[in-house]
Point group: D2
Chain length 341, copies 4
């Protein structure tokens, strides 16, 4: 059955699979100190047009978020995010487990605003409360929306005015950058963020996130944190090799653009059929609202993830497409929707 449940249902793009095969019996040193990691880091520095940063490769997003926050904050410091932020809801309290409070604001469609950040800062005034020290945001967000350059610049300015680090979770960075209307580029990121990552798991790699540390204060001893948090992969070259491949030419952006295109084709057809959405999103995640009866019929042919019950008759679902979603699958889904509408 065709699945639109998430963007990590398939393996890796062929370029990665081939290169993994080619280099399989090569002996390299472990723990990310190999030549593939070095080459991938160099490519990233070029893509972001920024030399003076440290690049580390970690296996997954939760690992990455947990490690960055543990490394950046002192025990009484807290991280601010939107209520829907991955660290707030979908990481089993990993941030709290490393000792830090997550302070959240409602946000709008997954995005936090300067006003919300400033309101939280204003409320935390003395040593009986935690001290906000970092803002975490995801781009694309958990709701498939993205931050424009102006929005991210404003948040960055707000953070730095209040002595807060800005940490951008880029698990779906490609989808944000490839979205229609987006004006943010990779080269903006080191200008605006203290630390961010470029996601591989959800954009053509078997696994892996490339973490870029821009702020000098966050650089020292970071490998101790990776190891302590169980994130140091013995065969680290697998991470380097995958990013070295993804960042060759425009492969990374091509894969993300494909995923977005597939979702937006579906969105167009749903609009045409007057199926409403919970809110508008421009990347590879869309949140249409179906009559439960229609949904039941769709689910005879497609795997579709529940999002939330809208009322007794209707349910919002989350449709996610990936770098590997087939045009055929999308066509088949659109056709079925049209026939049911």
């Amino acid at each position: 059955m065709i699945s639109f449940v998430n963007d990590y249902s398939e393996g890796a793009c062929e370029e990665i699979m081939q290169r993994m095969q080619e280099t399989n019996h090569l002996q390299t040193c472990g723990y990310g100190l190999d030549e593939f990691c070095k080459s991938a880091a160099d490519k990233i520095k070029k893509k972001i047009d920024y030399e003076d940063c440290d690049v580390h490769f970690l296996v997954g997003g939760t690992q990455c978020n947990k490690t960055v926050i543990a490394a950046s904050l002192r025990p009484f410091e807290a991280v601010i995010c939107a209520e829907t932020g991955h660290i707030n809801v979908h990481e089993t309290g990993a941030v709290e487990n490393s000792g830090h409070k997550v302070l959240y604001a409602p946000g709008q469609n997954g995005k936090i605003s300067c006003e919300e950040i400033e309101a939280i800062v204003a409320k935390h005034t003395d040593e009986h409360m935690v001290k906000p020290a970092m803002v975490y945001l995801s781009d694309a967000t958990e709701l498939g929306t993205y931050y424009t350059y102006a929005e991210l610049k404003a948040i960055s300015d707000c953070c730095h005015a209040h002595g807060l680090y800005l940490f951008l979770d880029g698990a779906r960075l490609g989808n944000a950058l490839a979205a229609k209307g987006n004006d943010l580029t990779m080269a903006h990121l080191p200008q605006l963020c203290d630390v961010f990552y470029i996601g591989g798991t959800k954009n053509g790699a078997l696994f892996g996130e490339a973490l870029v540390i821009v702020n000098d204060r966050l650089k020292p001893d970071f490998r101790f944190y990776i190891k302590q948090n169980g994130g140091m992969l013995a065969k680290g070259r697998l991470l380097g090799l995958q990013f070295d491949t993804l960042l060759e030419g425009d492969l990374y952006m091509r894969l993300a653009a494909h995923a977005n295109k597939m979702a937006q084709q579906i969105a167009d057809v749903l609009n045409e059929c007057q199926i409403p959405f919970l809110f508008s999103s421009e990347t590879n995640q869309i949140f249409p609202i179906f009559e439960n009866a229609v949904l039941a019929q769709l689910r005879e042919q497609f795997e579709l993830g529940d999002w939330e019950a809208v009322d007794e008759q209707r349910t919002a679902i989350r449709i996610v497409t990936s770098w590997d979603t087939k045009q055929d699958a999308v066509d088949q889904f659109c056709q079925t929707v049209r026939s049911l509408a």
Copy 2:
């Protein structure tokens, strides 16, 4: 200058001071294993009419909250409370520092409801999220309100239906029980709560909270948690001795009733003068709203704690009275208010 800033501005009631003097040179064993602690524990068991519980004495409220929660929850489990809950805002993230997420609901006037608890439970469905395992509430609340028997019984039933422990922070328990309209008694507590404490610091002791563990699952090895959390007082007899004194006869309730009476006298005069309140409260904390100009004049004679700006002209303050507040001080304040109104 007379202070109405809090209820821990003075030392201890004379009965305690005298007994501390009398027993000063006695040699006892350390760490709460002495005869005074034993005697105090026995008195508590009688007051709450419940034998099958463990009693421990800790120095303060944050220490107590942190230790109980660390001892009760497994690393992925979370504690639910009202947004205003002390553990959520005024303990510098102590609960998160011991690894646990605090899940909060808005509450009403400092009180959480069953509906709010159930909504949080319903949202936490799988291993990507923390698992709610305990409800924390304060009685009296941080806003000077209290839970009726029916309210606490409903929450207790709700907790036990959902497999949640109920933990009652009684730092101001005396003030709740002595409040006008209250129908909850000490003997209800072991029937409704898994663990609770009877506050001393804010009701006539130099320091100290008497923790009562009712649920058998929370009893084993609790002294390890006290010690690990830095809460095991070398001269533990000081804690036992204070509670042994406070719980003799009706001293504990008399002290709390006095504090309430002082605040309610002020509230009556404020009402009479048509000074509004942020909300109504029945214990030793009240939250009137003053014109800023009036407030400035009051502050020439009285220390008064800010609560929040209501608008540009008016500010809500918190007035707190204690077991040791003098009738004279209250009279003087009331007279000043009348003269300014």
Copy 3:
């Protein structure tokens, strides 16, 4: 240059690489709930001849150790191991970072004894000290030695007599089981251990450890711990698929036997050349002592890891062979040693 530095220098065995290619575009659900993981778990249960256990797949050893210990112990409980135990020296304090003390005994050639365990238990008598609750050991050990059935049985009995869990780190389990003189089998493990793992990273997989939980008390909610510790791989099928392949037929043991054989060939030649060893070991790690001048010459052709300076003239090194070490490489090394001796 040929490397004998470790057993994670190469990629994965061909069987795995091929299967990864074949299944690459298949859509599966995430987080280890797929069919490959299920099939691999079934194969493990057959190999260990034990149905009533839970099997989880994690990416690496430190992650696995940290997660198991965090899930098994309460905050005041401690884990016992040999001084050389991986958790004690080479995991950047990951166990302490999750709140637990590591209690260690000197051990002998990397192996802990019942006497040492009992001495530690005897010393921890009250709530001012941590409480020992688990024994951790590695088989093969960090020094290339292994536990016989009788030794492991004695430790298991000792643990259970003292209420301690027994946790066996099997990162190099294949090498232990394939060692000359070993009489322990996979089917013994669930009889003796409360929890153990079968290592993949160091025996032919790209990465992965298969964790087996035998003791019912350690089973509930384990997936919460995996997620919270950042160890839940999005494309979990990669773990299942690798173990499903390794555990088909005798592949797993064949790979380990090859690694051992390569190291023991080198050991034989070194013995023949009267090169001494720090101690005797029977698996894929050996620790010969070379004159520094000889070592310098060997290092013109081979990468060799330092272990420790024995005196001013001599250095002990660690030679590690792997499932992928070539006979040619070993021959070349032996020939060079002979020519230098």
Copy 4:
């Protein structure tokens, strides 16, 4: 029955009791921001002849150790101490519970040496291991011995050469400074240590340790750590008032000298009776070895703490005297020993 079990068996010296009574109804602000704390801090700065330090008052030693270490170290950093160090054996893993490994060396009679510190530093070379960042020592030690100026100076130099903070636990500082042969003074401490404390609990106070932070890097935000660790006493003035009293004139040193004198009188008589000691100690703790039969008779009249069995016939005990030990009690013990010897 007269107890020689510890130095926290009694209440507080009369000067403290009287002052507590006199100031009992005074209203002060909470949490250590009152005038008594300020005055006590000023007196400390004079006693140690050092202005540029921060002084905080905490309730007890474990609380103090835990908080200082949590505030000083980053998550991957470790603290070095002697095996007998209080943080290593008698704090229920509080340091590990806040995430840090304790690295220990055997030490000699409770004292760690530069060679031991350097050996530990030399072994910790990369990010797979914790990084030593602080040395903790107690003066007087847990075995009643003390560090001379030269010894402490050497350790201080060693620490600073290796980038380690030096933290001195002075729970029994008075006993060290008052010991026969000691040449260390209070004024040396800020010259040698980065952070240290002056113990009150074991020298005439009801409770309390006065923490002095000398190193500028350890000063910021320390009150957040106190609060987060549950160590911020509501009626903080009780701490200030006690130290303000103890540090008036020579009271602090007089109390400690008395305790030492009592123990050394006993030691002299034991020597005279040819009772051997486990090792020699010069403060208020001594460790004689008695025939078990003699010990049983002594215990008919005196409470005496076991230390360790020396052989089947003999047991070492710990005798501790305090600021409040009566000359009569000592005379009675000495007489009994003489009659039994």
